[in-house]
Protein backbone atom coordinates (compact mmCIF):
# COMPACT_ATOMS: atom_id res chain seq x y z
CA UNK A 1 0.00 0.00 0.00
CA UNK A 2 2.77 2.40 0.95
CA UNK A 3 4.73 1.37 -2.09
CA UNK A 4 1.83 2.31 -4.31
CA UNK A 5 1.88 5.83 -3.09
CA UNK A 6 5.64 6.23 -3.02
CA UNK A 7 5.75 8.37 -6.13
CA UNK A 8 2.94 10.58 -4.92
CA UNK A 9 4.70 10.89 -1.60
CA UNK A 10 7.94 11.85 -3.28
CA UNK A 11 6.25 14.49 -5.38
CA UNK A 12 4.57 15.92 -2.30
CA UNK A 13 7.85 15.92 -0.37
CA UNK A 14 9.63 17.59 -3.24
CA UNK A 15 6.98 20.28 -3.33
CA UNK A 16 7.18 20.83 0.42
CA UNK A 17 10.94 21.05 0.63
CA UNK A 18 11.35 23.06 -2.52
CA UNK A 19 8.73 25.61 -1.72
CA UNK A 20 9.59 25.91 1.95
CA UNK A 21 13.10 26.93 1.04
CA UNK A 22 12.17 28.74 -2.13
CA UNK A 23 9.46 30.94 -0.70
CA UNK A 24 11.85 31.82 2.10
CA UNK A 25 13.52 34.15 -0.31
CA UNK A 26 10.66 36.62 0.06
CA UNK A 27 11.26 36.68 3.79
CA UNK A 28 14.80 37.86 3.37
CA UNK A 29 16.44 41.15 2.85
CA UNK A 30 18.89 41.53 0.02
CA UNK A 31 21.56 42.78 2.41
CA UNK A 32 23.52 39.92 3.82
CA UNK A 33 22.86 38.95 7.46
CA UNK A 34 25.43 40.48 9.77
CA UNK A 35 25.84 43.64 7.75
CA UNK A 36 24.27 47.04 8.16
CA UNK A 37 23.77 50.01 5.92
CA UNK A 38 23.83 53.27 7.81
CA UNK A 39 23.23 56.96 7.09
CA UNK A 40 23.82 60.20 8.91
CA UNK A 41 21.00 60.75 11.35
CA UNK A 42 19.97 63.99 9.65
CA UNK A 43 19.47 62.35 6.28
CA UNK A 44 15.70 62.33 5.55
CA UNK A 45 15.92 59.09 3.51
CA UNK A 46 14.45 56.21 5.53
CA UNK A 47 14.23 53.26 3.21
CA UNK A 48 15.96 51.99 0.10
CA UNK A 49 15.20 49.15 -2.22
CA UNK A 50 17.79 46.64 -3.25
CA UNK A 51 18.03 48.13 -6.69
CA UNK A 52 18.52 51.64 -5.34
CA UNK A 53 21.32 50.49 -3.09
CA UNK A 54 23.01 48.80 -5.97
CA UNK A 55 22.68 51.85 -8.17
CA UNK A 56 24.15 54.00 -5.45
CA UNK A 57 27.18 51.79 -5.09
CA UNK A 58 27.48 51.49 -8.88
CA UNK A 59 27.38 55.31 -8.87
CA UNK A 60 24.39 55.39 -11.16
CA UNK A 61 22.62 57.36 -8.48
CA UNK A 62 24.89 60.12 -7.27
CA UNK A 63 22.64 62.58 -5.48
CA UNK A 64 20.35 62.15 -2.53
CA UNK A 65 17.78 64.25 -4.34
CA UNK A 66 17.15 61.33 -6.69
CA UNK A 67 15.99 59.38 -3.66
CA UNK A 68 13.85 62.07 -2.14
CA UNK A 69 16.63 63.56 -0.02
CA UNK A 70 18.74 66.70 -0.08
CA UNK A 71 20.31 67.86 -3.35
CA UNK A 72 23.80 66.84 -2.24
CA UNK A 73 26.04 64.25 -3.82
CA UNK A 74 26.27 60.91 -2.07
CA UNK A 75 29.43 59.92 -0.23
CA UNK A 76 30.06 56.19 -0.52
CA UNK A 77 31.74 54.32 2.29
CA UNK A 78 32.90 50.74 2.39
CA UNK A 79 34.84 49.22 5.25
CA UNK A 80 38.09 49.16 3.30
CA UNK A 81 37.83 52.93 2.80
CA UNK A 82 38.36 53.47 6.52
CA UNK A 83 42.10 54.00 6.20
CA UNK A 84 41.43 57.07 4.07
CA UNK A 85 39.89 58.69 7.10
CA UNK A 86 41.68 57.32 10.16
CA UNK A 87 45.17 56.15 10.97
CA UNK A 88 46.06 52.61 11.90
CA UNK A 89 46.60 53.75 15.47
CA UNK A 90 43.07 55.03 15.79
CA UNK A 91 41.68 51.83 14.31
CA UNK A 92 43.81 49.69 16.52
CA UNK A 93 45.76 46.53 15.75
CA UNK A 94 42.75 44.31 16.39
CA UNK A 95 40.23 46.79 15.05
CA UNK A 96 39.19 47.59 18.59
CA UNK A 97 38.87 51.29 17.66
CA UNK A 98 36.96 50.60 14.47
CA UNK A 99 33.38 50.93 15.76
CA UNK A 100 34.21 54.28 17.24
CA UNK A 101 35.86 55.47 14.01
CA UNK A 102 32.91 54.48 11.91
CA UNK A 103 30.54 56.11 14.32
CA UNK A 104 32.42 59.37 14.20
CA UNK A 105 32.75 59.29 10.46
CA UNK A 106 29.03 58.79 9.88
CA UNK A 107 28.22 61.48 12.33
CA UNK A 108 30.57 63.92 10.66
CA UNK A 109 29.55 63.39 7.05
CA UNK A 110 25.86 64.28 6.43
CA UNK A 111 25.79 62.73 2.96
CA UNK A 112 27.46 59.42 3.74
CA UNK A 113 26.09 55.98 3.11
CA UNK A 114 28.07 53.30 4.89
CA UNK A 115 28.12 49.52 4.53
CA UNK A 116 29.90 47.45 7.19
CA UNK A 117 29.54 44.36 9.39
CA UNK A 118 27.22 44.91 12.31
CA UNK A 119 29.89 43.76 14.77
CA UNK A 120 31.53 47.14 14.18
CA UNK A 121 28.37 48.95 15.17
CA UNK A 122 29.25 51.26 18.08
CA UNK A 123 27.31 50.83 21.31
CA UNK A 124 26.08 54.40 21.24
CA UNK A 125 25.75 54.68 17.50
CA UNK A 126 24.77 58.19 16.47
CA UNK A 127 23.83 57.53 12.85
CA UNK A 128 20.76 55.68 11.74
CA UNK A 129 20.51 52.20 10.31
CA UNK A 130 18.74 52.06 7.02
CA UNK A 131 15.65 49.95 6.66
CA UNK A 132 15.93 47.72 3.62
CA UNK A 133 12.87 46.26 1.95
CA UNK A 134 12.43 42.52 1.83
CA UNK A 135 12.71 41.00 -1.59
CA UNK A 136 9.41 41.52 -3.35
CA UNK A 137 7.72 39.33 -5.94
CA UNK A 138 7.97 42.17 -8.37
CA UNK A 139 11.67 42.58 -7.85
CA UNK A 140 12.25 38.86 -8.13
CA UNK A 141 10.27 38.21 -11.30
CA UNK A 142 10.71 41.61 -12.91
CA UNK A 143 14.31 42.35 -12.02
CA UNK A 144 16.62 42.48 -14.95
CA UNK A 145 19.74 41.56 -13.07
CA UNK A 146 20.85 38.35 -11.45
CA UNK A 147 23.80 39.07 -9.22
CA UNK A 148 23.14 37.21 -5.99
CA UNK A 149 26.56 37.82 -4.48
CA UNK A 150 26.60 41.55 -5.14
CA UNK A 151 27.71 43.69 -2.19
CA UNK A 152 26.16 45.47 -0.43
CA UNK A 153 22.86 44.42 -1.89
CA UNK A 154 22.19 41.20 -3.80
CA UNK A 155 20.34 41.50 -7.10
CA UNK A 156 17.86 38.70 -7.61
CA UNK A 157 16.06 39.41 -10.84
CA UNK A 158 15.22 36.08 -12.50
CA UNK A 159 14.04 37.61 -15.74
CA UNK A 160 17.33 37.07 -17.58
CA UNK A 161 17.41 33.46 -16.41
CA UNK A 162 13.83 32.76 -17.44
CA UNK A 163 14.35 34.43 -20.78
CA UNK A 164 17.66 32.62 -21.22
CA UNK A 165 15.97 29.28 -20.54
CA UNK A 166 13.12 29.94 -22.94
CA UNK A 167 15.46 31.34 -25.54
CA UNK A 168 17.75 28.32 -25.58
CA UNK A 169 14.85 25.86 -25.44
CA UNK A 170 13.02 27.59 -28.23
CA UNK A 171 16.11 27.46 -30.40
CA UNK A 172 16.51 23.79 -29.53
CA UNK A 173 12.98 22.93 -30.48
CA UNK A 174 13.17 24.86 -33.73
CA UNK A 175 16.17 22.77 -34.67
CA UNK A 176 14.85 19.49 -33.36
CA UNK A 177 11.27 19.61 -34.55
CA UNK A 178 11.83 19.34 -38.32
CA UNK A 179 14.45 16.65 -37.85
CA UNK A 180 12.45 14.75 -35.26
CA UNK A 181 9.16 14.86 -37.13
CA UNK A 182 10.83 13.83 -40.36
CA UNK A 183 12.36 10.86 -38.60
CA UNK A 184 9.06 9.97 -36.95
CA UNK A 185 7.24 10.05 -40.29
CA UNK A 186 10.00 8.12 -41.94
CA UNK A 187 10.08 5.44 -39.28
CA UNK A 188 6.35 5.00 -38.90
CA UNK A 189 5.15 5.39 -42.48
CA UNK A 190 7.95 5.09 -45.00
CA UNK A 191 10.73 2.82 -43.84
CA UNK A 192 10.30 -0.92 -44.02
CA UNK A 193 10.43 -3.16 -41.00
CA UNK A 194 14.12 -3.89 -41.29
CA UNK A 195 15.13 -0.23 -41.25
CA UNK A 196 12.75 0.39 -38.38
CA UNK A 197 14.26 -2.42 -36.36
CA UNK A 198 17.69 -0.84 -36.79
CA UNK A 199 16.54 2.71 -36.14
CA UNK A 200 14.67 2.07 -32.89
CA UNK A 201 17.67 1.02 -30.79
CA UNK A 202 19.73 3.83 -32.30
CA UNK A 203 17.19 6.39 -31.15
CA UNK A 204 17.14 4.74 -27.75
CA UNK A 205 20.90 4.98 -27.63
CA UNK A 206 20.68 8.67 -28.47
CA UNK A 207 18.34 9.01 -25.50
CA UNK A 208 20.69 7.04 -23.28
CA UNK A 209 23.86 9.08 -23.74
CA UNK A 210 24.42 11.02 -20.51
CA UNK A 211 23.99 14.76 -20.64
CA UNK A 212 27.57 15.43 -19.50
CA UNK A 213 28.77 13.56 -22.52
CA UNK A 214 26.60 15.73 -24.75
CA UNK A 215 27.94 18.75 -22.91
CA UNK A 216 31.49 17.56 -23.36
CA UNK A 217 30.94 16.90 -27.04
CA UNK A 218 29.38 20.34 -27.41
CA UNK A 219 32.29 21.91 -25.62
CA UNK A 220 35.03 20.35 -27.71
CA UNK A 221 33.28 20.30 -31.10
CA UNK A 222 30.30 22.61 -31.40
CA UNK A 223 31.58 25.53 -29.34
CA UNK A 224 34.84 25.99 -31.28
CA UNK A 225 32.93 25.48 -34.51
CA UNK A 226 30.51 28.27 -33.70
CA UNK A 227 33.31 30.53 -32.59
CA UNK A 228 35.12 30.04 -35.88
CA UNK A 229 32.07 30.19 -38.12
CA UNK A 230 30.72 33.42 -36.72
CA UNK A 231 34.06 34.84 -35.75
CA UNK A 232 33.09 35.39 -32.14
CA UNK A 233 35.19 36.15 -29.07
CA UNK A 234 33.74 33.06 -27.38
CA UNK A 235 31.88 30.10 -28.83
CA UNK A 236 29.91 29.42 -25.65
CA UNK A 237 26.60 30.86 -26.79
CA UNK A 238 22.89 30.33 -26.75
CA UNK A 239 23.23 28.77 -30.17
CA UNK A 240 25.61 26.12 -28.87
CA UNK A 241 23.11 25.35 -26.12
CA UNK A 242 20.26 25.14 -28.60
CA UNK A 243 22.15 22.74 -30.84
CA UNK A 244 23.13 20.42 -28.02
CA UNK A 245 19.66 20.56 -26.47
CA UNK A 246 18.10 20.04 -29.87
CA UNK A 247 19.99 16.79 -30.28
CA UNK A 248 19.00 15.75 -26.78
CA UNK A 249 15.32 16.51 -27.39
CA UNK A 250 15.24 14.42 -30.57
CA UNK A 251 14.52 11.01 -29.01
CA UNK A 252 11.55 12.35 -27.04
CA UNK A 253 10.03 13.99 -30.09
CA UNK A 254 10.66 11.02 -32.33
CA UNK A 255 9.44 8.30 -29.97
CA UNK A 256 6.22 10.02 -28.97
CA UNK A 257 5.16 11.35 -32.34
CA UNK A 258 6.09 8.09 -34.05
CA UNK A 259 3.90 6.25 -31.57
CA UNK A 260 1.06 8.64 -32.28
CA UNK A 261 1.36 8.24 -36.04
CA UNK A 262 1.57 4.51 -35.78
CA UNK A 263 -1.70 4.59 -33.88
CA UNK A 264 -3.49 6.04 -36.87
CA UNK A 265 -6.10 3.39 -37.66
CA UNK A 266 -5.18 1.29 -40.61
CA UNK A 267 -8.69 1.74 -41.94
CA UNK A 268 -8.14 5.47 -42.17
CA UNK A 269 -5.00 5.06 -44.22
CA UNK A 270 -6.54 2.42 -46.42
CA UNK A 271 -9.55 4.61 -47.08
CA UNK A 272 -7.26 7.35 -48.29
CA UNK A 273 -5.18 5.09 -50.48
CA UNK A 274 -8.31 3.46 -51.87
CA UNK A 275 -9.38 6.87 -53.12
CA UNK A 276 -6.27 7.11 -55.23
CA UNK A 277 -4.23 9.22 -52.83
CA UNK A 278 -0.50 8.62 -52.95
CA UNK A 279 1.29 7.48 -49.85
CA UNK A 280 2.68 10.97 -49.33
CA UNK A 281 -0.76 12.56 -49.69
CA UNK A 282 -2.08 10.08 -47.19
CA UNK A 283 0.66 11.01 -44.74
CA UNK A 284 0.13 14.73 -44.77
CA UNK A 285 -3.60 14.76 -45.31
CA UNK A 286 -4.63 11.93 -43.02
CA UNK A 287 -1.89 10.55 -40.79
CA UNK A 288 -0.47 13.86 -39.58
CA UNK A 289 -3.84 15.53 -38.90
CA UNK A 290 -5.07 12.41 -37.17
CA UNK A 291 -2.07 12.18 -34.86
CA UNK A 292 -1.56 15.89 -34.41
CA UNK A 293 -2.24 15.82 -30.69
CA UNK A 294 0.33 13.08 -30.17
CA UNK A 295 2.78 15.01 -32.28
CA UNK A 296 2.23 18.15 -30.23
CA UNK A 297 2.61 16.13 -27.06
CA UNK A 298 5.99 14.98 -28.35
CA UNK A 299 7.01 18.51 -29.18
CA UNK A 300 5.92 19.85 -25.82
CA UNK A 301 7.69 17.10 -23.92
CA UNK A 302 10.75 17.82 -26.05
CA UNK A 303 10.61 21.44 -24.91
CA UNK A 304 10.20 20.21 -21.35
CA UNK A 305 13.27 18.06 -21.69
CA UNK A 306 15.21 21.04 -23.01
CA UNK A 307 14.03 23.39 -20.28
CA UNK A 308 14.99 21.02 -17.50
CA UNK A 309 18.33 19.96 -18.89
CA UNK A 310 21.21 21.06 -16.75
CA UNK A 311 24.69 19.80 -17.37
CA UNK A 312 24.94 20.07 -21.13
CA UNK A 313 23.68 23.63 -21.09
CA UNK A 314 25.90 24.55 -18.21
CA UNK A 315 28.90 23.42 -20.20
CA UNK A 316 28.21 25.14 -23.50
CA UNK A 317 26.22 28.34 -23.03
CA UNK A 318 28.79 30.52 -21.34
CA UNK A 319 26.49 31.32 -18.43
CA UNK A 320 26.26 35.08 -18.62
CA UNK A 321 23.30 36.18 -16.55
CA UNK A 322 22.16 38.93 -18.85
CA UNK A 323 19.09 39.21 -21.01
CA UNK A 324 20.18 37.80 -24.35
CA UNK A 325 19.91 39.91 -27.48
CA UNK A 326 21.05 37.35 -30.01
CA UNK A 327 21.65 33.63 -30.16
CA UNK A 328 25.34 34.35 -30.57
CA UNK A 329 25.72 35.69 -27.04
CA UNK A 330 26.35 33.71 -23.90
CA UNK A 331 23.20 33.04 -21.92
CA UNK A 332 22.37 31.35 -18.68
CA UNK A 333 19.44 29.08 -17.98
CA UNK A 334 17.66 28.35 -14.72
CA UNK A 335 19.00 24.82 -14.23
CA UNK A 336 22.52 25.87 -15.14
CA UNK A 337 22.34 28.68 -12.59
CA UNK A 338 21.32 26.30 -9.85
CA UNK A 339 24.05 23.85 -10.74
CA UNK A 340 26.72 26.49 -11.00
CA UNK A 341 25.91 28.46 -7.87
CA UNK A 342 24.43 26.17 -5.26
CA UNK A 343 27.83 24.85 -4.32
CA UNK A 344 28.98 28.32 -3.26
CA UNK A 345 25.76 29.50 -1.68
CA UNK A 346 25.92 29.37 2.12
CA UNK A 347 23.37 26.98 3.52
CA UNK A 348 20.10 28.69 4.41
CA UNK A 349 21.23 32.08 3.22
CA UNK A 350 19.57 34.40 0.78
CA UNK A 351 21.43 33.05 -2.23
CA UNK A 352 20.62 29.48 -1.24
CA UNK A 353 16.94 30.28 -0.93
CA UNK A 354 16.94 32.17 -4.18
CA UNK A 355 18.31 29.10 -5.94
CA UNK A 356 15.56 27.00 -4.41
CA UNK A 357 13.07 29.55 -5.65
CA UNK A 358 14.54 28.97 -9.11
CA UNK A 359 13.98 25.26 -8.52
CA UNK A 360 10.34 26.03 -7.74
CA UNK A 361 9.97 27.93 -10.99
CA UNK A 362 11.50 25.03 -12.87
CA UNK A 363 9.24 22.58 -11.09
CA UNK A 364 6.15 24.60 -11.93
CA UNK A 365 7.14 24.91 -15.57
CA UNK A 366 7.64 21.18 -15.95
CA UNK A 367 4.46 20.42 -14.04
CA UNK A 368 2.59 22.73 -16.35
CA UNK A 369 4.10 20.97 -19.34
CA UNK A 370 3.16 17.55 -18.00
CA UNK A 371 -0.41 18.57 -17.31
CA UNK A 372 -0.72 20.16 -20.74
CA UNK A 373 0.40 16.94 -22.36
CA UNK A 374 -2.00 14.98 -20.21
CA UNK A 375 -4.79 17.33 -21.18
CA UNK A 376 -4.01 17.06 -24.87
CA UNK A 377 -3.97 13.29 -24.88
CA UNK A 378 -7.16 13.05 -22.82
CA UNK A 379 -9.01 15.38 -25.11
CA UNK A 380 -7.77 13.28 -27.93
CA UNK A 381 -9.16 10.08 -26.49
CA UNK A 382 -12.50 11.73 -26.08
CA UNK A 383 -12.53 12.98 -29.65
CA UNK A 384 -11.93 9.57 -31.11
CA UNK A 385 -14.43 7.83 -28.88
Amino acid sequence: MLSGTVTSLTVVLIVIFLFKEGLGVFDKKPVEDGYVIALNKNNPVQKLSSEQIKNIYDQKITHWSELGGKPDSIVLFRLEDISNFYSDDEIGANFEGLPNCINRLIDSLPDIIAFFPDKYLDKNFKGKQLAVDKISFKEFFGGKEWFPTAQPSAQLGVLPLILGTLWVSLGAILLALPLGLAAAVYMSEIANDRVRRIMKPLIELLAGIPSVVYGFFGLVIIVPLIQKTFNLPVGETGLAGSIVLGIMALPTIITISEDAMRNTPRAMKEASLALGASKWQTIYKVVVPYSISGISAGAILGIGRAIGETMAVLMVTGNAAVIPHSILEPVRTIPATIAAELGEAPNGGLHYKALFALGCILFLITLFINLTVEFISNRNKYNKH
Partner: protein, 250 residues
Protein backbone atom coordinates in the same frame (compact mmCIF):
# COMPACT_ATOMS: atom_id res chain seq x y z
CA UNK B 1 -16.55 -7.98 -72.49
CA UNK B 2 -15.95 -8.85 -68.84
CA UNK B 3 -15.42 -5.97 -66.48
CA UNK B 4 -13.25 -7.98 -64.10
CA UNK B 5 -11.55 -11.24 -64.75
CA UNK B 6 -9.15 -13.24 -62.68
CA UNK B 7 -7.14 -16.03 -64.22
CA UNK B 8 -5.41 -18.69 -62.11
CA UNK B 9 -4.86 -16.33 -59.23
CA UNK B 10 -2.79 -17.58 -56.31
CA UNK B 11 -2.05 -15.38 -53.36
CA UNK B 12 0.35 -15.83 -50.48
CA UNK B 13 0.82 -14.18 -47.12
CA UNK B 14 4.46 -15.06 -46.59
CA UNK B 15 4.54 -18.80 -46.96
CA UNK B 16 0.86 -19.47 -46.36
CA UNK B 17 -1.37 -19.58 -49.38
CA UNK B 18 -4.60 -17.66 -48.94
CA UNK B 19 -6.06 -18.05 -52.44
CA UNK B 20 -5.75 -21.06 -54.71
CA UNK B 21 -6.24 -20.88 -58.43
CA UNK B 22 -9.17 -18.53 -58.57
CA UNK B 23 -10.90 -18.02 -61.91
CA UNK B 24 -13.81 -15.62 -62.05
CA UNK B 25 -15.35 -13.39 -64.72
CA UNK B 26 -17.59 -10.51 -63.75
CA UNK B 27 -19.85 -8.69 -66.21
CA UNK B 28 -20.26 -4.91 -66.16
CA UNK B 29 -23.15 -3.42 -64.22
CA UNK B 30 -23.74 -6.47 -62.10
CA UNK B 31 -23.53 -7.11 -58.40
CA UNK B 32 -21.38 -10.05 -57.39
CA UNK B 33 -21.54 -11.38 -53.85
CA UNK B 34 -18.57 -13.18 -52.29
CA UNK B 35 -19.66 -15.55 -49.54
CA UNK B 36 -17.99 -18.20 -47.43
CA UNK B 37 -16.93 -19.00 -43.89
CA UNK B 38 -14.63 -16.71 -41.96
CA UNK B 39 -11.01 -16.84 -43.07
CA UNK B 40 -11.77 -18.38 -46.45
CA UNK B 41 -10.15 -15.49 -48.32
CA UNK B 42 -13.05 -13.28 -49.41
CA UNK B 43 -11.48 -10.04 -48.22
CA UNK B 44 -8.12 -11.04 -49.55
CA UNK B 45 -9.64 -11.66 -52.94
CA UNK B 46 -11.64 -8.45 -52.96
CA UNK B 47 -8.57 -6.42 -52.07
CA UNK B 48 -6.72 -7.79 -55.06
CA UNK B 49 -8.89 -5.69 -57.37
CA UNK B 50 -7.56 -2.37 -56.14
CA UNK B 51 -4.18 -3.74 -55.12
CA UNK B 52 -4.84 -3.02 -51.48
CA UNK B 53 -2.85 -6.09 -50.52
CA UNK B 54 0.27 -4.35 -51.80
CA UNK B 55 0.34 -2.54 -48.48
CA UNK B 56 1.03 -5.74 -46.61
CA UNK B 57 4.67 -6.76 -46.45
CA UNK B 58 5.71 -10.15 -47.69
CA UNK B 59 2.81 -10.93 -49.95
CA UNK B 60 2.95 -12.52 -53.37
CA UNK B 61 0.47 -12.91 -56.17
CA UNK B 62 0.63 -14.91 -59.35
CA UNK B 63 -1.85 -15.34 -62.16
CA UNK B 64 -3.65 -12.41 -63.77
CA UNK B 65 -6.25 -9.93 -62.66
CA UNK B 66 -7.78 -8.07 -65.62
CA UNK B 67 -9.92 -4.98 -65.37
CA UNK B 68 -11.37 -3.75 -68.65
CA UNK B 69 -9.01 -6.23 -70.25
CA UNK B 70 -5.81 -4.81 -68.75
CA UNK B 71 -3.67 -6.73 -66.31
CA UNK B 72 -3.58 -4.52 -63.22
CA UNK B 73 -0.52 -6.30 -61.85
CA UNK B 74 1.50 -5.68 -65.01
CA UNK B 75 4.64 -3.59 -64.81
CA UNK B 76 4.15 0.15 -65.13
CA UNK B 77 0.59 0.18 -63.93
CA UNK B 78 -0.08 3.26 -61.85
CA UNK B 79 -1.68 2.06 -58.67
CA UNK B 80 -3.12 5.46 -57.70
CA UNK B 81 -4.96 5.70 -61.00
CA UNK B 82 -6.17 2.15 -60.65
CA UNK B 83 -7.60 2.93 -57.25
CA UNK B 84 -9.37 5.94 -58.67
CA UNK B 85 -11.14 3.65 -61.03
CA UNK B 86 -11.87 1.02 -58.41
CA UNK B 87 -13.58 2.45 -55.35
CA UNK B 88 -13.77 0.67 -52.04
CA UNK B 89 -16.10 0.69 -49.05
CA UNK B 90 -14.93 -0.91 -45.85
CA UNK B 91 -16.52 -3.05 -43.19
CA UNK B 92 -16.55 -0.39 -40.53
CA UNK B 93 -17.44 3.18 -41.50
CA UNK B 94 -14.10 5.00 -41.58
CA UNK B 95 -14.62 8.67 -42.30
CA UNK B 96 -11.60 10.96 -41.97
CA UNK B 97 -11.40 13.30 -38.99
CA UNK B 98 -12.55 16.12 -41.24
CA UNK B 99 -15.83 17.82 -42.07
CA UNK B 100 -18.57 15.99 -43.94
CA UNK B 101 -17.86 18.10 -46.98
CA UNK B 102 -14.11 17.53 -46.88
CA UNK B 103 -14.58 13.80 -46.53
CA UNK B 104 -16.34 13.62 -49.85
CA UNK B 105 -14.09 16.21 -51.46
CA UNK B 106 -10.95 14.35 -50.34
CA UNK B 107 -10.74 12.00 -53.31
CA UNK B 108 -11.18 14.90 -55.72
CA UNK B 109 -8.50 16.97 -54.08
CA UNK B 110 -5.89 14.24 -53.96
CA UNK B 111 -6.55 13.61 -57.61
CA UNK B 112 -5.62 17.12 -58.60
CA UNK B 113 -9.03 18.77 -58.86
CA UNK B 114 -8.93 22.25 -57.40
CA UNK B 115 -11.86 23.95 -59.16
CA UNK B 116 -14.06 24.94 -56.25
CA UNK B 117 -17.28 24.83 -58.21
CA UNK B 118 -16.63 21.46 -59.67
CA UNK B 119 -15.82 20.09 -56.23
CA UNK B 120 -18.99 21.47 -54.71
CA UNK B 121 -21.02 20.04 -57.55
CA UNK B 122 -19.48 16.60 -57.26
CA UNK B 123 -19.82 16.53 -53.50
CA UNK B 124 -23.49 17.36 -53.77
CA UNK B 125 -24.28 14.80 -56.46
CA UNK B 126 -22.38 12.09 -54.62
CA UNK B 127 -24.16 12.74 -51.35
CA UNK B 128 -27.47 12.82 -53.19
CA UNK B 129 -26.60 9.53 -54.83
CA UNK B 130 -26.39 7.86 -51.45
CA UNK B 131 -29.63 9.55 -50.33
CA UNK B 132 -27.93 11.42 -47.54
CA UNK B 133 -28.28 14.95 -48.82
CA UNK B 134 -31.41 15.90 -46.91
CA UNK B 135 -29.89 14.67 -43.67
CA UNK B 136 -26.58 16.52 -43.92
CA UNK B 137 -27.07 19.48 -46.21
CA UNK B 138 -27.24 21.87 -43.26
CA UNK B 139 -24.17 20.55 -41.50
CA UNK B 140 -21.63 20.00 -44.24
CA UNK B 141 -19.07 21.92 -42.15
CA UNK B 142 -19.57 19.67 -39.13
CA UNK B 143 -17.25 16.80 -38.28
CA UNK B 144 -18.14 13.54 -39.97
CA UNK B 145 -17.90 11.85 -36.57
CA UNK B 146 -21.14 13.54 -35.57
CA UNK B 147 -23.12 11.32 -37.95
CA UNK B 148 -24.66 8.01 -36.95
CA UNK B 149 -22.95 4.81 -38.00
CA UNK B 150 -25.35 4.25 -40.87
CA UNK B 151 -24.99 7.80 -42.07
CA UNK B 152 -21.22 7.51 -41.81
CA UNK B 153 -21.24 4.41 -43.96
CA UNK B 154 -23.35 6.10 -46.61
CA UNK B 155 -20.97 9.04 -46.44
CA UNK B 156 -18.09 6.67 -47.06
CA UNK B 157 -19.91 5.32 -50.09
CA UNK B 158 -20.47 8.87 -51.31
CA UNK B 159 -16.79 9.52 -50.77
CA UNK B 160 -15.96 6.56 -52.98
CA UNK B 161 -18.46 7.64 -55.65
CA UNK B 162 -17.21 11.23 -55.83
CA UNK B 163 -14.18 10.29 -57.90
CA UNK B 164 -16.45 8.48 -60.36
CA UNK B 165 -15.06 4.97 -60.26
CA UNK B 166 -16.51 2.33 -62.50
CA UNK B 167 -16.13 -0.49 -59.99
CA UNK B 168 -17.17 -0.46 -56.35
CA UNK B 169 -15.74 -2.97 -53.89
CA UNK B 170 -17.60 -3.45 -50.62
CA UNK B 171 -16.27 -5.54 -47.75
CA UNK B 172 -19.16 -6.40 -45.43
CA UNK B 173 -20.48 -2.84 -45.72
CA UNK B 174 -23.47 -3.40 -43.47
CA UNK B 175 -22.04 -5.63 -40.78
CA UNK B 176 -21.67 -2.71 -38.36
CA UNK B 177 -25.07 -1.22 -39.09
CA UNK B 178 -28.57 -1.54 -37.66
CA UNK B 179 -31.34 -3.13 -39.79
CA UNK B 180 -32.80 0.15 -41.02
CA UNK B 181 -29.44 1.52 -42.13
CA UNK B 182 -28.69 -1.85 -43.66
CA UNK B 183 -31.88 -1.72 -45.69
CA UNK B 184 -30.96 1.74 -46.92
CA UNK B 185 -27.52 0.63 -48.03
CA UNK B 186 -28.94 -2.43 -49.76
CA UNK B 187 -31.40 -0.28 -51.64
CA UNK B 188 -28.56 1.96 -52.62
CA UNK B 189 -26.54 -0.95 -53.97
CA UNK B 190 -29.45 -1.96 -56.09
CA UNK B 191 -29.68 1.49 -57.61
CA UNK B 192 -25.95 1.97 -58.08
CA UNK B 193 -25.80 -1.16 -60.21
CA UNK B 194 -26.99 0.79 -63.21
CA UNK B 195 -23.80 2.82 -63.20
CA UNK B 196 -21.19 0.66 -61.48
CA UNK B 197 -19.93 -2.86 -61.32
CA UNK B 198 -20.17 -3.94 -57.70
CA UNK B 199 -18.41 -6.71 -55.79
CA UNK B 200 -19.63 -7.21 -52.25
CA UNK B 201 -18.41 -9.48 -49.47
CA UNK B 202 -21.14 -10.52 -47.07
CA UNK B 203 -21.84 -13.00 -44.33
CA UNK B 204 -25.53 -12.38 -44.63
CA UNK B 205 -27.14 -14.93 -46.96
CA UNK B 206 -30.37 -12.98 -47.26
CA UNK B 207 -28.41 -9.93 -48.21
CA UNK B 208 -26.54 -11.80 -50.90
CA UNK B 209 -29.88 -13.08 -52.17
CA UNK B 210 -31.45 -9.66 -52.16
CA UNK B 211 -28.78 -7.56 -53.82
CA UNK B 212 -26.59 -9.72 -56.03
CA UNK B 213 -26.85 -11.04 -59.56
CA UNK B 214 -24.18 -13.66 -59.18
CA UNK B 215 -22.68 -15.26 -56.08
CA UNK B 216 -19.26 -16.82 -55.56
CA UNK B 217 -18.77 -19.28 -52.73
CA UNK B 218 -15.28 -19.52 -51.27
CA UNK B 219 -13.98 -22.21 -49.00
CA UNK B 220 -10.47 -22.38 -47.52
CA UNK B 221 -8.96 -20.22 -50.22
CA UNK B 222 -10.66 -21.99 -53.07
CA UNK B 223 -13.52 -20.89 -55.27
CA UNK B 224 -16.04 -23.67 -54.90
CA UNK B 225 -18.80 -22.35 -57.09
CA UNK B 226 -19.71 -19.18 -58.99
CA UNK B 227 -23.10 -18.86 -60.63
CA UNK B 228 -26.29 -16.85 -60.81
CA UNK B 229 -27.41 -16.01 -57.33
CA UNK B 230 -30.71 -17.74 -57.90
CA UNK B 231 -29.01 -20.93 -58.96
CA UNK B 232 -26.60 -20.89 -56.02
CA UNK B 233 -29.39 -20.40 -53.54
CA UNK B 234 -31.92 -22.79 -54.99
CA UNK B 235 -29.99 -25.33 -56.92
CA UNK B 236 -26.23 -25.37 -56.24
CA UNK B 237 -24.21 -27.94 -58.11
CA UNK B 238 -21.89 -28.70 -55.26
CA UNK B 239 -23.01 -30.13 -51.97
CA UNK B 240 -20.65 -28.06 -49.84
CA UNK B 241 -22.27 -24.88 -51.16
CA UNK B 242 -25.65 -26.26 -50.30
CA UNK B 243 -24.52 -27.09 -46.79
CA UNK B 244 -23.12 -23.66 -46.25
CA UNK B 245 -26.14 -21.85 -47.53
CA UNK B 246 -28.56 -23.87 -45.50
CA UNK B 247 -26.37 -23.32 -42.47
CA UNK B 248 -25.27 -26.87 -41.91
CA UNK B 249 -21.72 -25.71 -41.29
CA UNK B 250 -20.28 -22.34 -40.61
Amino acid sequence: MNKIESKDVNFFYGASQALKNINIAIKPNTVTALIGPSGCGKSTYLRLFNRMNDLIDNTKINGQVLIDGDDIYAKGVNVDSLRKKVGMVFQKPNPFPKTIFENVAYGLRVNGISDKKLIEERVETSIKQVVLWDEVKDKLKKSAFELSGGQQQRLCIARALAIQPSILLMDEPTSALDPISTAKVEELIYELKTKYTIVIVTHNMQQAGRVSDTTAFFYMGELIEHDNTKTIFTNPKIERTQNYITGRFG
